[in-house]
Symmetry: C2
Subunit: 435 residues, 2 copies
């Protein structure tokens, strides 16, 4: 109850901050340390994996040398556990001296020299989630200035060890302080995740004015249960969440965990597909030095990335939730195109799902379909024609769909290997046309 009142109170404030500063017109892409490397600070025993400047330089090198940067993955983001247990004698945050001996400014130069951007982490509260010094209300200005002075391009502002009143004051204040530095800094707010992610506790209009993106829900873990739970929460609450997103303001279902230990190939495709549909940040947390080829192929899928980065910036929605445990998601894209994802929650065998574009609310006409993960195409698919897709357990079929008459060429890059289409055609019935 208290929260409701506070939020209503805040909504009434005339905020002078305006984060519509041209940043993140499409969802951010990059790499972040947390899910894969957590708070590993033992550099003596685990020098290659501990949270240290070497880890971030390694990842920057990989982003540049392995084709990530040219696809749009540009942010290298430090998460918790980088900061020294003590502020310096001028009250400024400083990095742990043994793990970041060169300092953050030098690391930022290393990253900028490679055409990448640096993100950093702080916490609205007395301590970070792992117990390092946080940013209390009185430290917001100095911390924003410190980050800007180092050349930081992105701030993840967490919310452990603060109460709702402090958060209500601190998150807008940090937005204002970042703006006041004069440096364009993308601002990621964990605030709504600490308020349950939904109105009335969360005011998404306000968030869109002060933050570029925000974490709505639980931290992702390295398991399909976690990914599926996040997808389900976002779909169940899409009436609230979907309208909140747009250029410069994004819901953040958390990091991509593709390439780690807990997802099968099918499940990895499902995360990539749904994150594209949800217009989610594509921020990987994995070990770019040790990725299986299949994981790299999924994360570097140009069509999935293009759908995620569509300039209209309209978040997609779940259209259909079948009793057969098939869900259909849809996202409108520029040039009258759209994306469809057929997701199976089954755990038995490939499921043959019968539908038509008309049943999925498409207008009459002919469409061209490009299958994002097989690179196969179907031409002149009539909206009224029944078709069947074979969806693997915990997997997806993902389509980029566009009107046939509008263009004969694909708007999206084709991928290297053409494979068998997932689409099968039903035997003719009286009421359906065969392709």
């Amino acid at each position: 109850m208290e929260l409701v009142d506070l939020t209503l109170f805040l909504t009434g404030l005339s905020l002078t901050v305006a984060l519509d500063n041209g940043l993140l017109r499409t969802p951010p892409m990059g790499w972040m340390a947390w899910e894969r490397f957590r708070c590993d600070i033992d550099c003596t025993y685990d020098p290659k994996n501990c949270i240290s400047e070497g880890l971030f330089r390694d990842m920057a090198d990989r982003l540049v040398e392995d084709g990530w940067k040219e696809l749009g993955y540009e942010y290298v983001i430090i998460d918790d556990c980088w900061v020294s247990k003590q502020r310096d004698d001028q009250g400024r945050l400083q990095p742990d001296p043994t793990r970041f001996p060169g300092g953050i400014a030098k690391l930022a130069r290393y990253i900028h020299d490679r055409g990448l951007k640096l993100g950093i982490y702080s916490d609205m509260g007395s301590h970070t989630c792992m117990g390092f010094p946080g940013t209390t209300l009185d430290k917001i200005e100095i911390d924003a200035q410190t980050f800007a002075s180092w050349g930081v391009d992105y701030l993840k502002f967490d919310g452990c060890y603060s109460n709702p009143v402090e958060q209500m004051l601190g998150y807008p204040q940090m937005s204002k302080a970042l703006n006041a530095t004069g440096r364009p800094i993308a601002y990621s707010c964990s605030w709504p995740a600490y308020l349950g992610g939904l109105p009335p506790n969360v005011n998404y209009s306000l968030l869109g004015e002060i933050c570029h993106l925000w974490r709505n829900y639980d931290d992702i873990q390295d398991s399909w249960d976690s990914v599926q739970g996040i997808i389900e929460w976002f779909a169940s609450n899409q009436d609230v969440l979907q309208p909140a997103a747009g250029p410069g303001r994004w819901n953040d279902p958390d990091m991509l965990i593709i390439g780690n230990f807990g997802l099968s190939v099918e499940q990895a495709r499902s995360q990539m597909a749904l994150w594209a549909i949800m217009a989610a940040p594509l921020i990987m947390s994995n070990d770019l030095r040790n990725l299986d080829n299949w994981a790299t192929a999924i994360l570097q899928n140009k069509a999935a990335i293009a759908i995620n980065q569509d300039p209209l910036g309209i978040q997609g929605r779940r259209l259909v939730q079948e009793k057969s445990h098939i869900d259909v998601f849809w996202r409108p894209l520029s040039n009258s195109a759209s994306a469809l994802v057929f997701l199976s929650h089954r755990t038995d065998m490939p499921f043959l799902y019968h539908t038509s574009l008309a049943k999925l609310n498409y207008q009459p006409g002919n469409y061209m379909v490009y299958d994002v993960f097989t690179s196969s195409t179907v031409t002149r698919l009539k909206a009224s024609t029944d078709f069947t897709v074979s969806i693997n357990p915990t997997g997806v079929v993902m389509w980029y769909v566009y009107p046939q008459q509008q263009s004969q060429r694909l708007h999206l890059h084709h991928q290297q290997h053409r494979k068998e289409s997932h689409v099968r055609y039903r035997k003719p019935k009286a009421e359906s046309t065969v392709l």
Copy 2:
């Protein structure tokens, strides 16, 4: 309560059946249709995957041509949905005529000609689980004779659509009827799974006398949740289950689902490792025509198979269940060897687990360790020496361990590729020796 009385009653019977007939001195290995292909009977629409003689011939071909048979995978087992809706005019079961036009005897010849063995499915009850004709008490003898006349080598006898009294009568009666045919037929009983899998409802002494193997628990599904749930149930109840197993009598935690859609590489290794520790049947249910190389490598891992097939036939146990969500499993093997599995239930990042062989109840002395999935070896590991293993989330480290003095050579085949060992060594401490 009724069940308890019935079981006690039955225990008192002097059964003349003796299934200690030399079959399955080690756990059976092979392939079974159910988990991957279920009850797909639409051969018009899905000819390559429907339950039909072609599917079993395909799998037999793959077993022979792709190296499975020489590793021990020899049974090709038909599950539900093979039978015609009607018995023949002599009251015998007959296969569906459109899907098995050549009949089962011809399929058996095809399979025998390739040095393999054929398994079939029936159900103690009025119907099979999918609603096909079952084997009622009055049909047990004729069905056993029919299967033997076809050349069947293995029967999975399910328990849908029967009550505990019928099961109590029918399962021993089928054992006797199979014996009476004179053909050696391995006998897999689903009985305990229908009684909750535990005493007093289940009498494992009796089961060991009448069945070669038995399903104790739920059907496996294509997900890590399912695999993990099965492992947990078997470990939680090991005091009852572990002594029940031995040559010719095996607990069956259900099929290997490696190569399907729901398991990550780590999780697939975990299933293989735990099935080896549990002396479980290695019966795959996957599409042998379409396996990823990594799945084949795990299923064909010679060391894991050798551990599973150890001639002593002693089922392993969970030794340790740590608060850190690491479990340690152990299985004694012939030649004073043993197997250890370190399993992580974590969903964050690789975990460094510190222990020693002495802490895992090993006698003082030097040991040689062979890492089953990396093919690396460690020599002269003193039982008292502290070591550290790095265990990936939902993954395992699996060791074959044997006394150094006994033999300088490996008892197990090395695999092709040597990789970095999972073992790391701690810095010296006063109380620990460094390797």
